[in-house]
């Protein structure tokens, strides 16, 4: 399978306790398990089933995904920024592999 590449958009700076919007996208085919190949055999399910967003080691937002999420899952959500730090994003695949990405943010 092609390597899943995460793309994340986080503002570089924020004021203290500002609520920012984070946008994430990861390339993944999100095979639902409902489709059949041309011989009529079901294609096994392979999706990203969990997404987590941590800020300085504490979970801010997480999400359990089902096969009904589209290919290349896109997520947009908010987070409060009390201090400068690092957002860490983790995607967990059905096959156990994890994809992650980090973004720094500075409080002015």
């Amino acid at each position: 399978m092609a390597k899943s590449k995460p793309r994340v958009k986080v503002p570089k700076t924020a004021s203290k306790d500002e609520v920012i919007t984070i946008k994430t996208l990861i390339s993944h085919k999100m095979e639902s398990g409902q489709r059949k190949d041309k011989d009529g055999n079901p294609i096994p399910r392979q999706i990203i089933n969990k997404f987590t967003c941590d800020f300085n080691g504490k979970t801010v937002f997480s999400c359990d995904l089902e096969p009904a999420i589209s290919a290349n899952p896109y997520l947009e959500f908010s987070a409060k920024v009390p201090e400068s730090g690092t957002f860490k994003f983790t995607w967990v695949d059905d096959d156990g592999s994890e994809y992650s990405s980090e973004s720094k943010i500075a409080v002015e």
């Binding site: 609520v19 639902s32 800020f55 979970t59 937002f61 999420i69 589209s70």
Partner: protein, 150 residues
Amino acid sequence: MTITRRQVFALGAGVAAVAITGLPRVALAEEDKVQAAIDAFSGGATPETANVTLTAPEIAENGNTVPISFAVDSPMSDDDHVTDVTLLAAGNPSPGVATFHFTPMSGAAEATTRMRLAKTQDVIALAKTSTGKVYIDRKTVKVTIGGCGG
């Protein structure tokens, strides 16, 4: 075998009868699955139709990627915040779409994603707060091309 005019009529009546008795049963099974999912999420509490705003297109041309977002009206303080939001699609092979977990650090209980819809159906958003309240909102989305593969 030749089919007489009379047989054609009989066949037509039979098909119509199946259609009338068969369809509500299918719809009922879907409704049951959705109700079971709602109960599992709410833990027995009756959801109130308030505070949750679900935004979905009225008509989705492509059921493979339907943009959907929700926002829950909540102070998001340590004592009173939204803990979980789940999205359900009533007419999909399995109703679950995604479950979002929020913390007071989330700042706002809102998110946007893209989902698959197999056919024209209701999309439901359920939200649970730390004070034990459950809120619900639903929207009907018309789907031109289904998005679950055949």
